[in-house]
Symmetry: C2
Subunit: 206 residues, 2 copies
């Protein structure tokens, strides 16, 4: 019922996370029904990003590409005011941004890009553990602490355990993000695992 050019757009929009065929059709019809300027601007922005943005060669965060021969370097890796002795390992760029918003960590990052997931067929060999070891080995000044900030889910915990094991031979302190009742959260509605983690991770009040 729709021209093929609109259908192709719908299929591509449906690849976006959380977008099904209905929502993709809604997006495409919105773009087709408004002035085509929005569609063109969005097309240009996508091409500009595809050509001008890459992965930071050091940490995997989003970085601007400065030239064909220069490996991309993100703002965080390029910021020499940050504490280079601390490295935070995150699963996704979104998690990095979330930690940055908290202003509680001023070190550097390492983005895994994925978590161990037996159900989705992601095994240990698909995690960039060797790249992480190289990053720590080659660091100057040396990295003294690695904070594993994978999410407190089954996959996130498994990934944290694997990384902790892999980093054990290295001369770094490995820590893990605390898990417990969130700020503003209600004990009444917290699930039993969160409660038991909050109890297991209790801290002395000095």
């Amino acid at each position: 019922m729709l021209p093929s050019k609109v259908q192709q757009l719908v299929q591509l929009l449906a690849r976006l996370p959380g977008v099904g065929d209905k929502t993709a059709q809604r997006f495409a019809l919105f773009l087709a029904a408004s002035e085509m300027d929005t569609a063109r601007a969005l097309g240009d922005a996508l091409h500009a990003m595809a050509d001008g943005i890459g992965s930071c060669a050091r940490c995997g965060h989003i970085a601007e590409v400065s030239g064909p021969d220069t490996p991309p370097c993100c703002d965080i890796c390029g910021d020499n005011k940050r504490d280079s002795t601390r490295l935070c390992v995150v699963a996704r760029i979104q998690d990095l941004l979330s930690i940055e918003r908290s202003n509680a960590f001023r070190g550097h990052y390492f983005v895994l890009g994925r978590l161990l997931s037996p159900l989705e067929g992601v095994g240990a060999e698909e995690l960039p553990v060797d790249a992480l070891k190289l990053r720590i080995d080659g660091a100057d000044p040396p990295v003294t602490e690695v904070l594993i900030a994978t999410p407190p889910s089954v996959d996130g915990e498994a990934t944290a355990l694997l990384i902790a094991q892999e980093l054990a031979p290295l001369d770094v302190q490995v820590s893990r993000l605390a898990s417990g009742v969130p700020h503003g959260g209600d004990l009444e509605f917290a699930d039993p695992i969160t409660i038991s983690r909050a109890i297991a991770g209790r801290r002395g009040m000095d």
Copy 2:
């Protein structure tokens, strides 16, 4: 925290209906983190649509542009097997597609593009009522029935009333989509207005 090229993309994605800044950032990070092929393909598809798709000159539905001098004509207006004596007036292209899926109407359409909406500042002069009258006046074979299929909301009802008044001098029968309890719906959970409409619109069981 994100490069300007990614931020520009986020701003444009946030114009999509139902997409806020957070979702737009999620879309942009998804596209930036996957191979750039998806971003490029989406950019190409948007340009292809912007260049190759327009509004049907007769009904306002989406239509392929065949040349710079030919007014676009959609599949429905171009289909001479359809009943040209019936015209269905809809608010949006989505509504047209929904009616097409029902297979219950084989006439032609007229897409208003918007509804009367005092709250959003859309007055009668912004509705294409003159274009609708021209469409009916100039039709050959003549249009004998106009089915107003705007939604049964406050704005939709106001628009239907306005159009019915405007079409009164013309020699056409004006009808309105029935409103009542939907198929599979439960009387227990139907709202009072739906119930009262279903009663007011009751039909004899001959």
